[in-house]
């Protein structure tokens, strides 16, 4: 567990009532019962805390890849979301790209959106990333939830072609073109950054609120477009403060 993990855990604990704190303490001390506590987190700690509690359990117990995959595969949608959320914390020890691809194959917009979080933004190859972004437009996921959308889209002529074709198909069918499409098309026309971009957008990103330092950048370089990958940061950045009642869209308990 890193210093940042400990800070997050401390903040989480302070928000839990006494019963939930005791439960969490036990759950963090019982690696053998991870499957049970992972499933019970919402009932034990309350819906608003469920995602962060599950992520904390994974960060503490750091299950090996096979066990993590099983937690995901045998999880309900909320548990799967929590696994996807935790992938940046578990990198570089755990390669979660298979799980990201699994989530992208589903028909559940929450899982698709979570797959395009900070981890997916780094591990997806260009073709897969473009297909995933196009899928977002198809199923109505706000592109604001796609991590690092602007730097990855910049200068992507192939994505621009796909967007124009999609718009033409929609128009031919007499259907409306999603508003997001025009904005994304505009992003593709911006020049790709020549050098690693000092991209700190994650700090302000409505979909994440996760410090940039958690990027699995060093072990999961974007295969095709290294110039757009945010550079690794040395120290942990301050987490974005969360306003009362605010929830990250991909962290919604369901």
């Amino acid at each position: 567990m890193t210093a940042a993990d400990r800070d997050r855990l401390g903040a989480l604990r302070s928000e839990l009532d006494e019963r939930a704190q005791d439960w969490l303490k036990r759950a963090l001390a019982e690696p053998d019962r991870l499957e049970i506590s992972f499933a019970a987190a919402k009932r034990a700690c309350g819906a608003p805390h469920a995602v962060r509690v599950r992520v904390a359990l994974l960060a503490e117990h750091r299950p090996p890849a096979a066990r993590l995959a099983e937690l995901y595969r045998r999880g309900n949608a909320a548990e799967r979301l929590a696994v996807l959320e935790a992938l940046p914390e578990l990198a570089p020890d755990t390669d979660g790209s298979e799980l990201v691809h699994d989530a992208l194959r589903t028909n559940d917009p929450r899982l698709v959106a979570a797959a395009l979080g900070p981890y997916g933004a780094c591990c997806l190859a260009p073709h897969d990333w473009r297909q995933a972004v196009l899928k977002c437009l198809f199923v109505g996921i706000p592109l604001a939830e796609v991590h690092d959308l602007a730097p990855r889209a910049a200068g992507d002529d192939e994505l621009a072609r796909m967007l124009r074709d999609f718009a033409a198909e929609r128009t031919a069918a007499g259907r409306t073109v999603p508003e997001d499409l025009h904005h994304l098309l505009e992003l593709t026309s911006r020049p790709a950054p020549a050098r690693p971009a000092p991209d700190r957008s994650a700090l302000d990103h409505p979909a994440t609120g996760r410090p940039v330092a958690d990027h699995p950048v060093t072990d999961h370089p974007v295969t095709g477009r290294p110039s757009t990958v945010p550079s690794p940061v040395d120290g942990p950045a301050a987490p974005r403060p969360t306003a009362p009642g605010e929830q990250r869209p991909t962290g919604q308990e369901i």
Binding site: P142, D204, Q252
Partner: protein, 283 residues
């Protein structure tokens, strides 16, 4: 009229059904895991099915403003196939999930020793996971099946007040009522109950601890039959409050025994996050 259908197999139904159910007042359903018509021969087929009951189906229901929960079990028809028995060992993992509000459908099909063992083992799992149990009565030899079911329940550690016995009819209602269990009635064309017979039973045996369901599935069935019962009750002189007790409060109280009932999804929902498909500021 708000309706909670405590027994419906939405896996077999279309989105048109969800829409029609919402229009008829259905705001919550429980989908018991059961037989799909085609027997499964591999344990993994069950796990994919359980995943659908915990993931895809609640998601689909939420888009139509309906809260979806499920019950998980190895059903009696397939409990007789030794190839499916490993499912019993995996059940605890699924019984720990938030969306699971009971162990079920369990009970008898052909009343074999294998079914005895599966029933007793799964009643114990309900105890272990602090869940109620949803037990159906067999289609054939129903009265004898109920007697045997009640015997097994009494031998178990699960209090009878935590058991719902389903698919009851005129021949089994008295014994079930005397036992103190929750009573379920399926309003299902041809083979089970119909709305008028149901109203007659509500008159003779009361509305307490009674649940009415469509049991709609892949057979000749109709997801709107609970609504028809509500209408028939009102026509027969029952009050709106009586209807609400049978069609809403009773199922909420029974499945609420799990402590896991979450009816927040019973509102019209958007398939996208926060209903916002427009790119927000920044990027």
């Amino acid at each position: 009229m708000r309706i909670f259908d405590p027994h419906i197999h939405m896996t077999s139904r279309t989105t048109d059904d969800y829409r029609a159910m919402y229009d008829a007042g259905v705001r919550a359903v429980v989908e018991p895991s059961f037989w799909l018509g085609q027997p499964r021969t591999h344990p993994a087929s069950f796990y994919d099915y359980f995943d659908a009951l915990l993931g895809w189906e609640p998601f689909r229901a939420a888009q139509y403003g309906i809260a979806h929960h499920c019950t998980i079990a190895l059903n009696p028809k397939e409990a007789g196939d030794p190839r499916c028995l490993p499912v019993l060992e995996e059940l605890p993992r699924y019984l720990a999930k938030d969306g699971v509000v009971a162990v079920g459908e369990i009970g008898y099909d052909s009343m074999t020793p294998a079914e005895d063992r599966a029933l007793a083992a799964q009643l114990q799992m309900a105890v272990d996971h602090e869940l109620p149990a949803m037990v159906h009565t067999p289609h054939r030899d129903k009265a004898a099946g109920l007697t045997r079911t009640l015997d097994v329940v009494r031998e178990s550690d699960l209090p009878i007040e935590h058991v719902l016995i389903d698919h009851l009819n005129e021949t089994t209602v008295a014994a079930a009522t005397d036992s103190g269990c929750w009573r379920g009635f399926s309003i299902y064309p041809d083979t089970k109950m119909d709305p008028d017979r149901m109203v007659a039973l509500l008159r003779s045996h009361g509305t307490e601890c009674v649940l009415v369901n469509s049991a709609a599935d892949w057979g000749n069935s109709d997801p709107l039959t609970p609504r028809r019962v509500g209408e028939a009750m009102l026509a027969a002189g029952f009050t709106e409050d009586d209807v609400d007790l049978v069609l809403w409060r009773n199922p909420v109280e029974f499945y609420g025994l799990s402590g896991r009932l979450d009816l927040d999804a019973a509102e019209p929902a958007s398939p996208t996050h926060e209903g916002n498909s427009v790119l927000r500021g920044g990027e």
